[in-house]
């Protein structure tokens, strides 16, 4: 109350209120706020994105269903019941039954387990291999580059089916074999792409600066180049997960699927595709679940790309843009209302 009464002089600051800082007590090295590390920043930005949260939740629900639905189901995924074949969805069989009378609800979620595992690991594994090999090729250049690129040239030209069949023959048809097959099939694309990116950044000023300062190549790649292209990598990685899921499905389509009686969403969808005009649900449900998984991954990838980008700080990210635009509109409205 008293303050209000005080006269305002010299631009609004009352010299009486100002006191010199006692420098002797001040620890200038003290960190007032915790420094926001790169990953903490990413997490903070990601948390603010509603779409990202939604997709993450969706994915979580799907994963939980894949884990728990078969456990709590009264049916086994491979339990046939010849008298109830091709039943439409009902209270008893939520997703209906297939032609051997097996409960589709159980089968879909068992299949989702396999597809998720194959999708995750089958996408990340080849990607990591590709990134590692690609960055070696791109950074060191010379004969190493030459050698690696020729190996990739040769590898890409030999139909992947040949080594997929070989791997499946020697490792059996389990999920591990499929994942290894995917890794062998897919590491070459990312390696090539990543090499191109490294080449692009190799001659940039900050890289040269780091090199001059004596940073090791791995450090430069990891600390300086990686953050710059992480956005791109995450986007391709999130498109690799669905790609891996579908690659598994297309292998199932040509008869190189997972060993029976195990199944996967891809297998179920391609089985159902043959009868989408008679028993639509057998085709639609697995397809829908696959599509949901892919949708969630895809959107999450987009959001993460925004969050990960070190140069696209808060004010630039898509969600921030949206927020700001909303605020502007709100202000406009308020102004309009005031007038």
């Amino acid at each position: 109350m008293e303050k209000e009464k005080q006269p305002i002089v010299d631009g609004g600051i009352d010299p009486a209120l100002c006191r010199p800082v006692d420098r002797s007590k001040l620890d200038t090295d003290q960190i007032v706020r915790p420094s926001v590390s790169y990953w903490a920043g990413v997490w903070r930005r990601l948390k603010q994105d509603k779409l990202a949260i939604f997709c993450a939740l969706l994915l979580l629900v799907l994963i939980l269903l894949a884990i728990f639905a078969p456990i709590f189901s009264p049916y086994q995924y491979d339990q046939t019941d010849l008298l109830s074949s091709n039943l439409s969805p009902s209270a008893e069989h939520w997703f209906g039954t297939d032609s051997a009378g097996r409960d589709m609800w159980t089968r879909v979620w068992v299949g989702a387990r396999v597809s998720l595992a194959v999708g995750f690991i089958g996408a990340i594994l080849p990607f990591l291999i590709g990134m590692f090999v690609g960055s070696i090729a791109g950074w060191f250049g010379g004969w190493i580059d030459m050698l690696i690129m020729r190996i990739i040239d040769i590898g890409l030209c030999i139909p992947s089916m040949i080594y997929v069949i070989l791997i499946l023959v020697y490792l059996g048809g389990g999920p591990q074999a499929i994942i290894i097959a995917l890794a062998v099939m897919n590491w070459m694309g990312p390696a090539r792409g990543y090499r191109g990116r490294i080449l692009q950044f190799k001659n940039r000023e900050f890289t040269l600066a780091a090199e001059t300062l004596g940073a090791s190549p791995m450090r430069i790649i990891y600390r300086h180049i990686l953050p710059n292209i992480l956005g791109n990598i995450v986007v391709s990685l999130t498109s690799f997960v669905p790609a891996a899921i579908f690659m598994e499905a297309s292998l199932a389509f040509i008869g190189l699927g997972i060993a029976p009686p195990m199944t996967s969403l891809g297998q179920l969808a391609s089985d159902g595709a043959g009868m989408y005009r008679t028993h639509f649900y057998q085709f639609a449900i697995p397809s829908l679940v696959i599509s949901l998984i892919i949708f969630a991954f895809f959107m999450l990838g987009n959001c993460m790309r925004d969050a990960l980008d070190p140069q696209l700080r808060d004010e630039m990210s898509t969600s921030a843009l949206r927020r700001r635009r909303r605020q502007e509109q709100l202000q406009k409205k308020q102004k309009g209302a005031a007038k």
């Binding site: 070989l166 191109g196 692009q200 949708f295």
Partner: protein, 313 residues
């Protein structure tokens, strides 16, 4: 400027040629021996046959010879440009199969690329320019649908709706241009969504590079910036995989060709590997390899021209 570039270019082309031939030879060799590792007998079919009959057929086709001898024979024929005859389809020469099916697959692939790449790039550019707005969201939804729904489902649905119900296009077969529209559309969806997606990301990445800021600071017009700086720089990283991609598209798609009954090459790849049709697989692999090598070579040349920072070396 022209002279300076041309001399190393000549040397470069020569160098690449030598490397290409060696690569090709390695592919042939690796593939030849990998194929023989696959278990099974190429002549085993569901009709009842005794081992004796199988052995005689193996002998007839020279497959009872030691592997190195078979390899030398094969390489000898290959040097004369002769891919041999199919083991599964007696009388069908691999050369003839390639000559008759490749143009079909290539036409389909080319149409899909010619349609898909510009549309995909355009969508990506639009999405980046109108980031966070309705346009971006709309394009995103389209891209998601293309990515999240498998080709065989989209193809079957398009065929059912546009072909059968509305009667706009023929359902299947390969008889005239109108027959190619549906399969081209289906095949290009993947390209469109892939390019739209990458283009959007890369455009945004380029958006904050210093040279763009410089360009903006210089007061260049918006369209000029977008066209000459942003797009050009965004496209560069995409070119790396273009060679392989073009080759892949030209070689045909198993799913699309099956669904639309198109007499292309895609089906041969899958069927001949599963059926252990050694000569057919080898012929197709070598043909594909040549196309990939040539495409990559052209792409690498383009790479150097478009992005002067990355000189061929």
């Amino acid at each position: 400027m022209v002279c300076k570039e041309l001399i190393p270019l000549k040397k470069y082309i020569l160098q690449r040629l030598v490397i290409s031939v060696i690569t090709l030879w390695l592919i042939v060799t690796v593939c030849f021996f990998l194929l023989r590792l696959l278990p099974g007998n190429p002549f085993a079919s569901t009709t009842i046959m005794t081992q004796e009959t199988l052995d005689r057929m193996m002998a007839y086709y020279g497959l009872d010879q030691p592997l190195w001898k078979q390899y030398l024979t094969y390489m000898g024929n290959l040097l004369q440009g002769n891919f041999g005859y199919s083991l599964k389809y007696a009388g069908r020469s691999v050369n003839y199969v390639i000559a008759s099916t490749f143009p079909v697959s290539a036409q389909l692939g080319f149409q899909a690329l010619v349609f898909g790449i510009p549309v995909g790039l355009l969508l990506g550019i639009l999405a980046a320019k109108f980031r966070g707005r309705a346009m971006d969201a709309g394009i995103n939804v389209f891209v998601i649908i293309c990515t999240a729904v498998p080709t065989f489902i989209i193809a079957a649905l398009l065929q059912f709706v546009l072909g059968l119900k509305l009667g706009l296009f023929p359902v299947a077969q390969w008889k005239s241009f109108s027959y190619t529209i549906l399969p081209t559309l289906c095949l290009s969806l993947g390209t469109i969504s892939g390019y739209a997606r990458s283009m959007r990301t890369l455009m945004l990445e380029v958006d904050r590079q210093d040279y763009l800021k410089t360009a903006k600071a210089k007061g260049l017009g918006n369209a000029r910036i977008v066209i000459f700086h942003q797009i050009r720089n965004a496209i560069i990283p995409m070119i790396t995989n273009l060679g392989t991609e073009i080759a892949g598209m030209l070689m045909g798609s198993y799913v699309i060709e099956k669904i639309f009954s198109i007499p292309g090459m895609g089906a041969y790849f899958v069927d001949s590997i599963q059926g252990l049709d050694y000569t057919m697989v080898m012929g197709l692999v070598i043909f594909q390899a040549v196309i990939v090598i040539v495409a990559n070579f052209i792409v690498d040349l383009l790479y150097g021209i478009i992005d002067p920072r990355i000189r061929v070396a």
